[in-house]
């Protein structure tokens, strides 16, 4: 197969065409600003580069187009030349002509058209296959793949693998030869008993041990190499992922072209339309993005043809003159959600119903019961239109069919919301097997997690006192208003949530779909653009966790879904108050009677105390010196040191005296009671009168 002589020119020229298209649209939106002057300079440089590159590969036609573009751009650089400027449409027409020439480059002999067509006729959507033939690669990502592969190679040639395959296994082989030689000698030996069996057995044992070590080393090295090879594979797959912003320039251009075409008469300036975009950093598989592009082009054209009112009508309705189309990409777990919202007149439901009925798609009574979503979805089956006469842009009903085909091919869903006079929103929701988005990497407890950066407003260090506690839910103050707050550990239901007694958090303020909340994390590990893999079956998780990525060590980082996260934080009731933290109090029970020990232990544990027991005062002293207790519960009569002595001794100890002591005894005489209290006991409970309630009351009085 002949080498493609235009391979690199095609890549460069396509990038220049895209930049030119975007820059010219920018120029149209801000013709008189200082930025515009810089934009013109950039455009002139790009045109010049294109002219030079085309000349190098002998594409004189494209070089002439680039030269013509330079001529048309020049008056835009100087205010005094404003009168001699050609309309923006002419500039765009030249860019289109270059794009058309590039598309046939090397595949046909047809020369590119030298005269641009500036009719404003919308270009037909190219087929999906055509859009994903090639993708532009971020050099950093290519470097990442190369680094991963280099790492695999390094691991496979590492000292561990080398020593196993070289040194260790060679030694094992030598040992086997020794054994072979001995066994050969044994076969020939007239007297087998003269053989050195200890040496043979010893060698075999060493051999086995050596092989074991080598096997473990080799397995470890190979496992690490396998892990890195998988990572390299993921990195390579990621190259198929394209940022959504790749489409934005084309969508803006389509909106302009559609507005120009809808203007009717040639030469009439196009209606002003603003295209707002969001979520451009979200990366999707090139095939998915290609299909979404086709659907979005149709939705944008539909919005201009059907939804956005003429200027006069918009003025009467009190709307800005420029119609607004907002396109947003968003990841919701393993699904990509793309919305296209306009601020036009809304869908004429009566007209749509009539069109559906007229098209034979539903009976009149059935159509009456359908909402806008159902009617639109039905309309997708067979093109329906509410427009009385078809124009170049719309009215043939083809647009909806294209959207329907895309949704079907991506196994997605379409939702439609419309409000008369306010606008319409189309929401395409499609599953994606692999996504990547810039994400904040945070840590809560031992768990690392990622939160899409699109949903992060900001992060801030907050003290425990900054959290307003209430039974309905905790909150922090953000720009004067209360925002629901919870620790991420609590939201993730992590065991041993240490956040209760924390003094400070790093709060991550989230906002998505108009809802806000803040989560407290232990620390922020950085920002990463990671490939999120769905959780494999049969794992089950709350909607907050939609998948995980793998960190440098191959350990999972949970991928959090911001909508579900915000909803979960807002739903949580107030967390435990720091000052009411359930601190478990420790009690040391000292009694030589097993029954008494166990009875007291049972009562205390049932009341929530942590109980340690000792069968003698001596044992108790030893235990008490090893750790701190909130209370000593001590029997009086014990072999060896008595309870009185234990209490007196601990009262005179500078450390142990901090722990109050209670005496529990069968001696009810007043002098015993007095003696106990004199020794320093804080309470004296008589076993004969032993009542659970009284016992616990005494304990609670002393330690809470």
């Amino acid at each position: 197969m002949a080498k493609d002589p235009y391979r690199y020119f095609r890549i460069e020229a396509r990038e220049i065409v895209e930049a030119l298209s975007q820059g010219i649209l920018e120029l149209e939106s801000r013709p008189a600003s200082r930025d515009a002057r810089q934009e013109v300079d950039r455009l002139l440089r790009a045109s010049h580069t294109l002219k030079g590159a085309a000349g190098v590969v002998g594409q004189e036609g494209i070089a002439k187009l680039a030269h013509r573009l330079e001529e048309l751009l020049a008056p835009y650089a100087r205010a005094e030349d404003a009168a001699s400027r050609e309309p923006i449409g002419a500039l765009l027409g030249i860019v289109d002509a270059v794009a058309a020439a590039l598309s046939t480059l090397g595949t046909a002999d047809a020369a590119p058209p030298l005269r641009p067509e500036a009719s404003g006729e919308p270009r037909e959507p190219s087929t999906i296959e055509k859009t994903v033939e090639s993708v532009r690669l971020d050099l950093l990502e290519v470097d990442g793949v190369l680094a991963s592969i280099a790492d695999v190679v390094a691991r496979l040639t590492s000292s561990r693998v080398a020593s196993a395959s070289g040194g260790g296994l060679a030694r094992a082989e030598l040992a086997v030869r020794d054994v072979e030689a001995w066994l050969g000698a044994a076969r020939r030996a007239p007297d087998p008993s003269s053989l050195d069996w200890d040496a043979i057995v010893g060698t075999v044992e060493r051999l086995r041990a050596e092989l074991h070590v080598e096997r473990e080393d080799l397995a470890g090295a190979l496992e690490a190499a396998e892990r890195r090879a998988r990572e390299a594979l993921e990195d390579a797959r990621r190259l198929r992922l394209l940022p959504a912003e790749t489409l934005f320039a084309e969508l803006a251009r389509a909106a302009r072209d559609a507005a120009a075409a809808d203007a009717g008469a040639p030469g009439v300036p196009p209606r002003p339309v603003e295209v707002e975009t969001a979520g451009g950093s979200i990366r999707l598989d090139a095939r998915v993005l290609g299909l979404l592009r086709d659907a979005l082009l149709q939705l944008v054209r539909n919005a201009i043809a059907h939804a956005l009112e003429p200027e006069a009508e918009r003025r009467r309705a009190g709307k800005p003159v420029a119609g607004r189309i907002a396109i947003r990409f968003e990841l919701r777990g393993a699904r990509a959600v793309v919305t296209c919202r306009d601020d036009g007149r809304g869908i004429d439901l009566a007209a749509l119903r009539a069109a559906v009925v007229a098209g034979g798609l539903a009976e009149e009574h059935a159509a009456r019961g359908m909402d806008v979503g159902a009617l639109v979805r039905l309309g997708m089956l067979r093109g329906v239109t509410t427009r009385a006469s078809a124009t170049a842009l719309a009215g043939r009903g083809v647009g909806l069919q294209v959207v329907g085909t895309v949704v079907e091919r991506l196994r997605g869903a379409l939702a439609v919301r419309t409000e008369p006079g306010q606008g319409t929103e189309f929401e395409l929701d499609v599953p994606v097997s692999m996504t990547a988005a810039s994400a904040l990497v945070v840590e809560a407890g031992d768990v690392a997690a990622t939160i899409p950066l699109d949903a992060v407003v900001r992060t801030a260090r907050i003290a425990a006192d900054d959290v307003a506690r209430s039974p309905e839910g905790d909150a922090i103050s953000e720009a004067g208003s209360a925002v629901s707050f919870a620790s991420l550990a609590r939201v993730l239901r992590l065991p041993d949530d240490a956040s209760v007694r924390r003094e400070a958090w790093t709060a991550v303020l989230l906002e998505i779909g108009g809802a806000r909340a803040a989560v407290g994390v232990d620390r922020i590990l950085g920002v990463a653009n990671e490939v999120v893999l769905p959780l494999p079956a049969p794992l089950v998780a709350d909607a907050i966790v939609v998948g995980a990525s793998l960190d440098g060590q191959g350990d999972p980082r949970l991928a959090l879904e911001p909508r579900a996260l915000v909803a979960a934080v807002c739903r949580l009731p107030g967390g435990p108050r720091a000052d009411a933290a359930p601190v478990v109090k420790s009690v040391l029970v000292v009694d030589d009677s097993l029954t008494s020990r166990m009875l007291e232990r049972t009562i205390l544990e049932a009341a929530g105390y942590d109980v340690t027991t000792a069968a003698s005062a001596e044992e108790a002293l030893e235990i008490a010196r090893g750790r701190t207790f909130a209370l000593f519960v001590v029997d009086v009569e014990m072999p060896g040191m008595s309870g009185f002595e234990f209490v007196a001794l601990t009262r005179s100890d500078p450390v142990l005296s901090a722990t109050p002591a209670v005496l529990v005894t069968s001696r009810a005489a007043p002098e015993d009671r007095r003696r106990g209290l004199e020794a320093g006991a804080r309470a004296y409970i008589v076993k004969g009168e032993f009542a659970e309630g009284e016992f616990l009351d005494a304990v609670r009085r002393l330690v809470g």
Binding site: P192, L539, D555
Partner: protein, 173 residues
């Protein structure tokens, strides 16, 4: 032991030794099935190697909100995400995560890791040493293996039954 017997034994040893290097590991049915002698909830069990793809020391297990009590979380094993489930919990024991030390990965195309506390070793179990499990046996125990030198029998774990249970619980049963 006569001279010829010694020579024969030595020859057998040498041949066995050579064979073990020359041919891939294989076990004849009548020699028994290879298995792992494991500790679950402090008790001895046996897990046959068939159906397992790897056994490794415990890696970081990241807990997930939700799921059954047997679901411990997700681990990264050889560059892939793998669900980790507690063998003790599947058998009805209550064992703290901190005591878990080993992961046995099962399940082929959709791997599942089963976590347990101790690995006593690798054994070859002759068919004759496996008896039917008594009716009082814990769930997922399909038989009792009497291994040479061990005072008590090991419960033979039914991998298929455990994987089916995990899948059923995940499916909402």
């Amino acid at each position: 032991m006569s001279e010829s017997e010694v020579a024969r034994r030595v020859r057998e040893l040498a041949e066995t030794f050579d064979r073990s290097f020359a041919s891939p590991a294989r076990v004849r049915e009548d020699d028994g099935r290879p298995g792992l002698a494991v500790r679950v909830g402090g008790d001895p069990y046996l897990l046959f190697l068939e159906g397992l793809s790897s056994v490794s020391r415990k890696k970081a297990i990241v807990p997930l909100p939700g799921g059954s009590s047997a679901q411990l979380g997700v681990s990264g094993i050889r560059g892939a995400l793998v669900g980790v489930f507690s063998l003790p919990a599947l058998l009805g024991y209550d064992v703290a995560l901190a005591r878990i030390s080993w992961l046995a990965v099962a399940g082929g195309a959709r791997p599942v890791a089963l976590a347990f506390e101790g690995l006593d070793g690798q054994v070859v179990v002759p068919p004759s040493s496996v008896a039917a499990a008594p009716s009082s046996a814990r769930r997922h125990v399909s038989g009792l293996a009497h291994l040479a030198g061990e005072p008590s029998a090991r419960g033979v774990l039914d991998l298929g039954s455990m994987l089916a249970r995990i899948a059923a619980v995940a499916g909402g049963e």
